[in-house]
């Protein structure tokens, strides 16, 4: 948890850079209408990651409703949300919080804002890289790519060796036959989004 986290904030919201189309932009990309949220904070109460994110889920919705675009796109919550749907089943308005977070992540990537949790984005890209190559994830390759990028070979070495010795990390990837069909999915996109 960030030490300076404080609700409500002592600072006033500066209104000169509000983006009032942000709510509809999010709805367009994710199909989620966040204007239904009336901030009962049930989602925050149920969130398993509340202690570790910089904003509880409904506060990210609030940032977006207020048009505080950068604050929403650069917060850590959007990356730490794993999409467990615990908040969605508790939400009295049936808001698809995981879908909303997907939308914000996708906008954050497209606009190349500062990513609050770059390791998590890198992990996602490493997973997609192995799917592109083999059609399936290859956990050993994901881990090696991830660790090589961070130049961190030792933090999970014991766990990795234990998994390997139990046959849980395969040396060779499980591959699909029609890999051409997968490559087609990963073909460069007109909007320039880089998958991996």
């Amino acid at each position: 948890m960030k030490a300076d986290r404080q609700f409500p904030s002592k600072e006033l919201i500066k209104s000169n850079h509000l983006n009032l189309d942000f709510v509809s932009e999010i709805e367009k990309i994710s199909g989620v209408n966040i204007n239904k949220c009336y901030h009962c904070k049930t989602c925050a109460g149920g969130c398993h990651f509340y202690q570790t994110t910089d904003y509880p889920p409904n506060s990210v919705i609030r940032l977006a409703q207020l048009g505080l675009r950068n604050e929403a796109l650069e917060c850590s919550t959007i990356w730490l949300c794993v999409g467990c749907h615990t908040c969605s089943i508790q939400c009295p308005m049936g808001i698809d919080m995981a879908g909303f977070m997907d939308g914000l992540r996708q906008i954050a990537i497209r606009e190349e804002v500062v990513i609050a949790e770059p390791d998590i984005l890198n992990f996602h890209r490493d997973v997609l890289h192995t799917i592109k190559r083999h059609g399936r994830t290859h956990k050993l390759e994901v881990m090696l790519r991830y660790k090589a990028r961070k130049w961190d070979w030792f933090s999970d070495l014991a766990v990795g060796l234990k998994m390997f010795s139990k046959g849980k990390l395969h040396l060779m990837p499980s591959k699909i036959k029609a890999i051409g069909e997968i490559r087609k999915i990963f073909a460069p996109r007109p909007d320039g989004v880089i998958y991996e």
């Binding site: 997907d102 998590i120 799917i131 998994m163 139990k166 990390l169 499980s174 999915i185």
Partner: protein
Amino acid sequence: MNRKASIDLSFFPGCSLDTTATENNLSLNSLFNRIGYNLVELDDWNCCGSSSAHSINSELASDLATRNLSLAPKGRPLVAACPSCLLRLQDAHFHLKKNDEERLRYEERWGRPFDPELKILHFFEILDGIDLLSFAKDRTKRLDGLRFVPYYGCMLAHPPDLTREKEYHGLMEKILASLGATPLSWPHASQCCGTFLSVARPDIVTPLVDRIIQGARDAGTDCIITACAMCHLNLEVRCSLKKTIPTLYFTEVLSLALGSDEHKTWFSRHLVDPKPLLRSKGLIQ
């Protein structure tokens, strides 16, 4: 024993059951063979996209999931065991049914017809309502004396679009109790395991897992029983407590209860050895 010819079901294993959770895959197949079903692996299936694809691009996530739908033979349900794969496949199917444009894209992309009638089920759906005890050798309640806490993780939670899909609160307790085991109540049954954060943020997942394992120990259980491969992995690799507790797959325990003796390769793959416990309960030799 059921002597009827077995019924074919399409089966989507997913990447976890194919590798890290082979024991889940093997015990599921063993269980289903015993109760008269034959799981036919979807030919040339690909990764459902997992948590990573939809974080980065919705179209990519949809395409990865829909290719699998396009491979499913008509006329029989598609069964998955991984809750995350299941959700991705159900979500993709739901959106294809709803959206003409996406359906056109699907048919153009895969050159195979879309089947709006395809049923995508968790294997719980097949077990629900079956009297498993009738399949056990001598109808013996082999799980007598085994105390467990059920761990569902987030598999009972659906996004709002899929709230009409069935959910299975209490199913593991009901079925295992029918075979003699004793379910204990505890507060962590539906607590998320932290899933993929285990790689990039183990500092978040370890305390989460420790709380779950400690909760199980406080409940006085012999073991944790889960149906999810991701949960199983996190509980095994991210626990930092000195005294941990074995986590068993639902399918492993059910297969044992029905008298399966194919378990040699299952339990040796666990990082927290469940064999002493299973021996003490007379479930394995």
